[in-house]
Structures are given as C-alpha cells and as structure tokens.
Symmetry: C2
Amino acid sequence: MGESNVSQILSREIRLKQRPVGVPKEGDFELVTVPLREPREGEVLVQNIFMSVDPYMRGRMSERESYIPPFPLGKALEGGCVGHVVRSVGGRFREGDLVLSMLGWREYYLSDGTGLIGIDPSLAPIQTYLGTLGMPGLTAYVGLLDLGQPQDGDTVFVSAASGAVGAIVCQIAKIKGCRVVGSAGSDAKVTWLLEEAGVDAAFNYKKVGDLSAEVAKHCEGVDIYFDNVGGPHLVAALDQMKPCGRVVLCGMISQYNITRPPRGPGNLILAIIKRLTLRGFIVTDHLHRQQDFLSDMSRWIAEGRIAWKETIVEGIGSAPRAFLGLFSGDNVGKMLVKLGPGARE
Amino acid sequence: MGESNVSQILSREIRLKQRPVGVPKEGDFELVTVPLREPREGEVLVQNIFMSVDPYMRGRMSERESYIPPFPLGKALEGGCVGHVVRSVGGRFREGDLVLSMLGWREYYLSDGTGLIGIDPSLAPIQTYLGTLGMPGLTAYVGLLDLGQPQDGDTVFVSAASGAVGAIVCQIAKIKGCRVVGSAGSDAKVTWLLEEAGVDAAFNYKKVGDLSAEVAKHCEGVDIYFDNVGGPHLVAALDQMKPCGRVVLCGMISQYNITRPPRGPGNLILAIIKRLTLRGFIVTDHLHRQQDFLSDMSRWIAEGRIAWKETIVEGIGSAPRAFLGLFSGDNVGKMLVKLGPGARE
C-alpha cells in the first residue's frame, strides 16, 4: 500500500457535459479517464461492481433547485453503487469487503468511509442492494405501507408496475392481503407481473384506448393508487378511487422530460368529492424505516415471496444509454450497469 | 292544535325545475306554493327564519352521483335553515323553540323532530348557526385543525378568505399563532380581512397578474394552503408551498359551473418534490368534532376573537338569486336568505 511501485490507478467516470433539454441524449454526457492517488491512512480504494441508474436522476440534471441540489456540470454524476474494497489503509473496511455508496457513475473511488455501508452478500446477489434490498425497495416499502396504509382486502393499483419500485409495491401489497392491479408498458412486462409477481390483473397501457375504463374493468374501485408515472394514469386512478382512498405520489416519469408545463389532472375535484389523500414523498425522508425494511424484505426474500427482474448493461461507457433507456421503457425491472471485474464492454 | 278552525297553512318553496348547465340561472328554479296539513301527534310545524345558500349545493343540482344524491327535479331543494316552532303536538320541541334543520328553501315544514337540532340564541344571533357556529364554521375548524394541523408560526394561505368558511379559517389560524395571508375578490373584502379579521396580508386576486408571484410576495413559503377555489389559486399555492406542507382541499368553486374538463394543476409534480399532502374532505365525515367545535367557537366568539360578515337577501323568492350570487362573488361573508317574520319581499 502506498508503495512507489504501485501503478497509477486510472478510473473512468461519466460526467454531465451539458444540461439535457427534454429527453436526454448521449451527447449530454461524457466519459473521462481520471487518475486517482493512493489511499492514505484511514482511506479505502473501492472498485465499483454495479451501479444504478434511476429515473429520479433526471431531476438533478436540470438547473432547478429541488430537494437535492442539481448535479454540477463537468463532474462525475452520483448514484447508488456496490463495489469491493481493493485497498485499505487502516480504515474500518478491509480488502474484499463489499460496500454500498452513492459514488456510482465511476469505476473506482477513494473514501474515508463516510457514507459507505457494508453489505451482506449471503442474503441475495450483491446488486440486489441497488434494487429490491436497496433504495427502490425501501421506496416501495415506505410508500405503500406508511403512506398507503393498506388494509387486508384493499384494491391497490400500481403504475410502472414491473419497474424496480412498482414490482416490489405489487408484491408487498399481495403479502398484506390486497388485490393488486398493475399497469406496464409491454406485453412481456404484463406476463411477468401475472406469472412471476403474482398480481391479480395487469394490462399493457400502450394498447389501451380509455385508461380509466381499463382500470374500472380490473378494479371495483381503487383503495390505494401507487403513482410512478403521473399524467393520464393519475387521471384514470382518480376516476376510479374509492371514497377515502389514498394516492401515493412516488414519481411522475411521464413528465420528467417535458419542456412545457403539462396538463394537470382535470378531475382533481374528485379528491374533495371522494375525500382522497394524495401524498408525495421522497424516500430519503424515511431512512428511519431502513432496519424494519431490511428485516422484513430479507425475510420475504428468504421465504421466496418476492420476485424481481434486472436489466443489466455492461461497462461504464454504457451507463448513459442505460439511463436513457429508463424513459423508453427498455428495462424490465431494475436497470443496472455492471462495471469492474467481469464487465464486458 | 289540530282544530278544524285553524286556517290552512300555505308554504312557498323553491324547487329545482331543470338541471343547470354551466352557470345556473333563475329559470332553473321555480317558486311554488304548497298547502301543509296540520301537525299530528309528535309533530311540529316550523316556520323558517333564515335559510342558507352554499356553493356545495351546485354539485347536487347536477345529475352526477356524488357523495350525496343529486337534488330531485320538481321537489323543494334542501339546505341548512333556522326556524321557530309555531305549533307542536306533544313532540320534544315546544312552540317558540328555535331549531336548525336541513329543510331550507321553504317557508314552513312539518317534522317529527328527526334531524332537528335545538339552538341557543344567547350565544350569537340565530343565523350564526348557519355560518360561524354552523356547517361553514365546522368546515373551517376541522379542515384547518384536523387536516391542516397548524403549528405555531406556520404560514397559512387561504383563498376565498372572506367567505363563510375562509374567514373562519383565517381567524382560527390567527388564534393558533399562524401568519395568515388571504386572497379575496374585491378591495372591500381585502379591507375587511385586514381590518376586521386581522389577517397579516391580503390581496384582491382580480387585480393580480401573476398569482404565484403575489403569493410569494406575501409569504416566505406556505405551510398550509386552505383551498376553497381550485384552479389558478391551487397552482400558485403549489408553487409556493414549503417542504412537507399541507394542502386542504375544501372547495373548488372556480370549477363548479364549468361544462368541460378544466386544466388541472400542471405543477402537481411539486407534491413529490416538496413531499406535500393534499387532502380533500367533506364536513359531514367529521361530525364527531361538533361538540369540540361548538365549545371552542362559542368561547372564541364570547372573547370577541371571531369576526364575520353576512350578506342577507330577503324573501324566499330571492333565494335563487342569492345562490347565483355566490358564483359572482356578490356576498361578503355568509350569504343568507331571511324568511318569515320580518322579511321584506
């Protein structure tokens, strides 16, 4: 460690080159190689193995101040990743330890350990900590259980139901005794929802003319709508909500790339007539539920009650493409980028 | 009582003649005189003294099933009223008793006492039981306190702030230590809000170009928005909400007379970014709070902490015009129709 004959570490990283306008394109990003110094006392050098791309990152690519600051231009992006410690100089992690951090979009990083979380690879494949056992899983857990407050026998409608969050919402709702109806954007996703995730009904919204009528066909009223998309899905759900229903506002991916103000739900008056509660949330406000979540979710996984899909793209250079794919629905389930050992570029 | 020499009682009532399309007009209503029989054993004959017209009644004039059934055509409308018992045949109310009921829009009615509530005229003028001490007051009380959950120092923004509900919201919020900003539709209403209701700031929205900028001018962020109107006010409030703010959806009078779907709030995504809670409610779900409300409100009135305004129209024949006036903002404060003894037609 720190010896002069150790070769210079070169790490490739993805930077935000310019702020996307509308749908992001590959030219908004750039791949840059940077040299890293040796780790000092108390530091570790981590090589990332998997990084996550998530829809919420689109918000941080715009200038507008939000609940987290915008990504700066000309610097590596940030996001969830799982890596292994390749060098350690007396820090709390040892070589070979697996760690979760927010320092994705790069192949290597140095850290004094701040913000790094050790993970247990015996529970599930390590990339699961970026999905079902990670932020998307926690999002599903607190959104459905704490905000949606499902009761046995409730009907739960989920949009983007086969996505990293939606698929877990569907299955926790089933565990809680709900009837679950999912909307997804391809026949393959619908098949997966019905055959693997165990939902009661699912439909391909791209083949549906009247979304409200389609929801009505599958639900005799909706107690909880878990909204990942906004737009026409939210309108349809409001139409079909039962009195005193709960709308969990988790994401509005249909609006992340728009350049002019969208139409809002013209039927929002139904929130009064039906006494609905609509609650928006950000998972990072709910980290106090992390231990409950990990305990429940690892048990459910061990019991074989949770299925999930991953779409894995290889190599740091493919990360922008993987991210863009989120908005065209290329992924089934969690979209991941494999880096480091074993990645094929 | 019941003697054959008692003259026939004739009562005039307002019926819904046809369902309004768009803005209601006087021709949608008709004034009809009906004979009433004598009260029988256990019944009372009540003469109404004041009746209420309220914006929510517009919803019941349309065919669409809602939280309460539509008004039937060709029958007297229903609504809150205060009257006095003019004949009683052994029922629980005596001649001269003052009673609150939902049998407004008529001069007299017979009742076996079901749904009648005796009122205490020593607390406040009897018509106050249709406003500040009645349904609008309870609406303000549960909407602000139970749904909005104001904390000392919160900023509360209220639309239709000088109305029967809004004015009470403003003043309860002041009692609870909040900073209160109101929007109203005339300079006179704004003056009343500032000078009588004691709000911290108020503006005439009809003179404002950019509603969002106007709200921003008066509020360094909004903790609670009490929405009586929907439309551009809701958009402006969403723009200015603080993180974790509460939006109480009480009414959307801007939409009650529209004939095609309105634009919804195009910035509803802010509900996620700011983790907002939007809750619609109907006061009749909260009648368990009636005793707390009456206790608090009568004390506040006795302490001189609550001001209110009334706009009083005279005579049953003027009731449709009074109702229509709600939508053009003719009223300041509670709109009432005076019937019976002392009414000038």
